[in-house]
């Protein structure tokens, strides 16, 4: 059943190729059918491979398909090889499953856009690149996918490139990612120099047999993690993700919430042997993740743009995933990645549905009271919010709890405390969003109110499906208090996760931790209710009392401004100086100078070309005489 798993990335690739070559001539209906069908077919193959994998015994893992020898230069070997193991299988299911729903949603959301075909071409290309990323059996293939998704992210953020801010946001995302990628690439080089192979299985074995020292392992792990902070929008490279909301909303859901931004988490989980071996690198991952989780959550508190709140929330949630990976609970991190893919893409798509209903309005201060107008969007949005807030029995609760419990069990109480604090903030800003959007009095602009309507079925059906999974997806990884060996997700991942020493908490402690995380979630929601429903004056009073703090949060701690002053402006100035003095004078001078010299000599020589046949003959004769004289004397 796993024989054809290599088809998973190549069905979207084929679809992309067809759309690139013939897309402009194909009718719109066919384009949407093909784009969605390709992802669906890929999803079916992923499912079949997944069930095949369940029946495969652990000794046969991972299943590797070597498609062809790619680079063989001296001792450097890199093949285009794909692998199927529990980790990549989960990722392919998430990418193609959520991806398919978002494709379907897009057919409704983008229906009137002029770049319809271009949009679906990019989306298919993205899916292909993402699948290559998660299925590559060595670091080189993974890097190809890594760059591929970066490119698609750039193309899709800047999809409405005639809008200046969108084009700039695309560039920002691309450039910030380059910084991370440079470090990632350095890490790959170190691995090739010291281990001599990029194959994951070889690397894991080499580390196990002590091929590299712990210090070197830490260096490599940190370099790889810097790459992950770029792609997964963590401190200090998170700044591109909020701006990335300039892209179409389904793109934000697919690329900037469910799949691409979690690539860093996947990569850390994939290299878990290295991170565990290094030890200290893991702690760095956990601390950075925890700080990001809180820092991004505080920025989400005061934003009024509905998509930006979700963007900061994504950064914060990915921080949680890194907490999980950092404390050695890679399975918990991956579990949160998997549940997050459902509820965060649900939230984005629902936000897109709200925007669609309000003719593109993004400002929550101009919404309110929408729940009676949007009978399907409202409940699905609410389910997403409850799931992310960590209320029991929904998926987000199980995964967030798994991470926080592991953080506590690992003894990193600081990380755990930050995680708990972040959970209060998460519940608060999500319900602030819900209350501002769907409750209270209507603050709509008149033109938005005229066209107020629920979205078409192509958009609402994916919402319902995602809402369903946001509720049930967590039941594959139940906590230990429910019963032993109920964590199917963790057990499925066991063959790929190197087990560090495990600390078992007593059942009482486990219950206590669960109670605490439920309590903080409820507290967050209650505060939001008091602030925005019961007594809406409180936020204004708070702003009036602490204008400095509000301004700091509202302006996102001025991080963009600080980066601009520290790096961007000096770079721009430096580039301008180089342009003025070196580019214009030296390079252009050399190029223009050689052209001028050629021109000059050409002019001089052209004096000999009189056009009179006798002149030519004379020169010919003189030449012959000179030659003769030279030969004779």
């Amino acid at each position: 059943m796993t024989d054809y798993f290599w088809l998973i990335p190549f069905i979207p690739a084929l679809s992309t190729l067809i759309l690139v070559l013939f897309g402009q001539k194909l009718p719109k209906k066919y384009v949407s059918f093909q784009a969605c069908f390709a992802i669906f077919a890929s999803f079916v193959v992923s499912l079949i491979s997944f069930f095949g994998l369940l029946q495969t015994s652990h000794e046969h893992l991972p299943i590797i398909k070597n498609l062809f020898s790619w680079i063989h230069a001296g001792s450097f070997q890199a093949d285009l090889a794909l692998q199927l193991d529990p980790l990549s299988s989960i990722m392919t299911l998430v990418v193609t499953g959520v991806g398919f729903l978002i494709h379907v949603y897009s057919t409704g959301y983008m229906a009137d856009d002029e770049g319809y075909t271009r949009y679906f071409t990019y989306l298919n290309l993205f899916t292909f690149a993402m699948l290559i990323l998660v299925m590559g059996s060595n670091l080189v293939v993974m890097f190809v996918g890594w760059e591929g998704v970066g490119l698609c992210s750039y193309l899709l953020i800047g999809f409405w490139f005639e809008k200046h801010s969108a084009a700039n946001a695309g560039k920002k995302a691309f450039i910030v990612n380059r910084i991370g990628d440079a470090a990632f690439l350095l890490g790959i080089f170190f691995i090739f120099i010291n281990i001599g192979s990029g194959e994951f299985s070889v690397i894991n074995q080499a580390i196990g047999s002590g091929a590299i020292t712990q210090g070197l392992a830490t260096l490599i792990a940190i370099l790889l993690f810097i790459g992950a902070t770029g792609k997964s929008a963590q401190i200090p490279l998170y700044i591109w993700l909020p701006d990335a909301m300039e892209g179409p909303t389904p793109v934000s859901a697919l690329i900037h919430a469910a799949t691409m931004v979690t690539a860093g988490v996947y990569m850390v989980a994939r290299m878990n042997v290295l991170f565990t071996f290094s030890g200290s690198a893991g702690s760095i991952v956990a601390v950075v993740g925890a700080l990001t989780a809180v820092f991004a959550a505080t920025m989400a508190l005061t934003q009024n743009d509905i998509k930006r709140v979700l963007a900061y929330s994504t950064i914060s949630q990915i921080g949680y995933m890194f907490i999980g990976c950092g404390v050695g609970a890679y399975a918990a991190g991956m579990f949160h990645l998997y549940t997050h893919a459902f509820f965060k893409s649900l939230l984005f798509l629902a936000a897109g549905s709200v925007m669609h209903a309000l003719s593109g309005e993004l400002n929550m201060q101009k919404m309110g009271g929408l729940r009676k107008y949007l009978p399907l969007t409202y409940p699905t949005f609410l389910i997403g919010a409850i799931a992310i807030a960590g209320i029991p029995f929904l998926s987000g609760f199980f995964s967030k709890d798994a991470i926080l419990t592991s953080a506590y069990a690992s003894g990193q109480y600081f990380v755990w405390a930050l995680g708990i604090f972040g959970a209060v903030l998460t519940a608060f800003y999500m319900f602030r969003l819900i209350f501002l959007t769907f409750f209270g009095n209507e603050r709509l602009e008149p033109h938005a109110k005229e066209h107020l309507h629920e979205s078409p079925p192509a958009m609402t059906i994916p919402l319902v499906v995602l809402a369903f999974f946001s509720v049930v997806a967590g039941y594959v990884g139940l906590p230990v208090v429910v019963g032993k060996n109920m964590d199917f997700f963790g057990r499925f991942l066991e063959p790929v996760i190197h087990k560090a020493h495990e600390v078992h908490l007593s059942l009482g402690t486990e219950w206590l931790l669960i109670l605490i995380s439920v309590a903080v979630a409820v507290t967050g929601i209650y505060i939001a209710w008091v602030f925005y429903i019961k007594n809406p004056k409180i936020p204004h009073n708070l702003v009036a009392r602490f204008p400095g703090a509000h301004k700091l949060l509202y302006n996102k701690y001025y991080v963009d401004e600080i980066y601009n002053a520290m790096f961007v402006n000096s770079l721009i100035k430096g580039s301008e100086t180089v342009y003025d003095h070196f580019d214009l004078k030296v390079i252009d001078g050399a190029v223009n100078g050689s052209a001028k010299a050629t021109n000059f000599f050409g002019k001089v020589l052209s004096y000999f070309q009189t056009g009179f046949i006798k002149d030519y003959a004379l020169i010919f004769l003189l030449g012959a005489i000179l030659l003769l004289g030279y030969l004779l004397f």
Binding site: Y607, Q609, T610, G611, A617, L618
Partner: protein, 100 residues
């Protein structure tokens, strides 16, 4: 027997005559004829040397030269004819279209 130098002197005289004619004559046909004279001057020199060294090489080359000259005459005359049709003249000082 006539000494070899006589032949060579005759060849040289013919060549110089051809060259001078080429430069002082104004119409293409005559210039063309002077080129033929130079060819034949060269042929005479080749034959003279062939006779003196006793090898056949010089004679063979003469055959080649005659062949090439025949081909050249055919092409050259055709060009002159076409030139006349286009420009209504074959005077070289009137034809200057290749000026750089």
């Amino acid at each position: 027997m006539i000494p070899l130098t006589y032949f060579l002197i005759l060849s040289a005289i013919l060549f110089v005559l051809g060259a001078i004619a080429f430069f002082i004559k104004k119409d293409l046909i005559t210039q063309f004829m002077s080129v033929e004279i130079m060819f034949n001057a060269a042929n005479l020199a080749f034959l003279t040397f062939a006779k003196s060294t006793g090898s056949l090489d010089g004679q063979i080359i003469v055959f080649f030269v005659i062949t090439v000259a025949a081909a050249e005459a055919a092409v050259g005359l055709a060009i002159i004819l076409l030139l006349y049709r286009q420009k209504k003249t074959i005077k070289t000082e009137d034809i200057q279209s290749m000026k750089g």
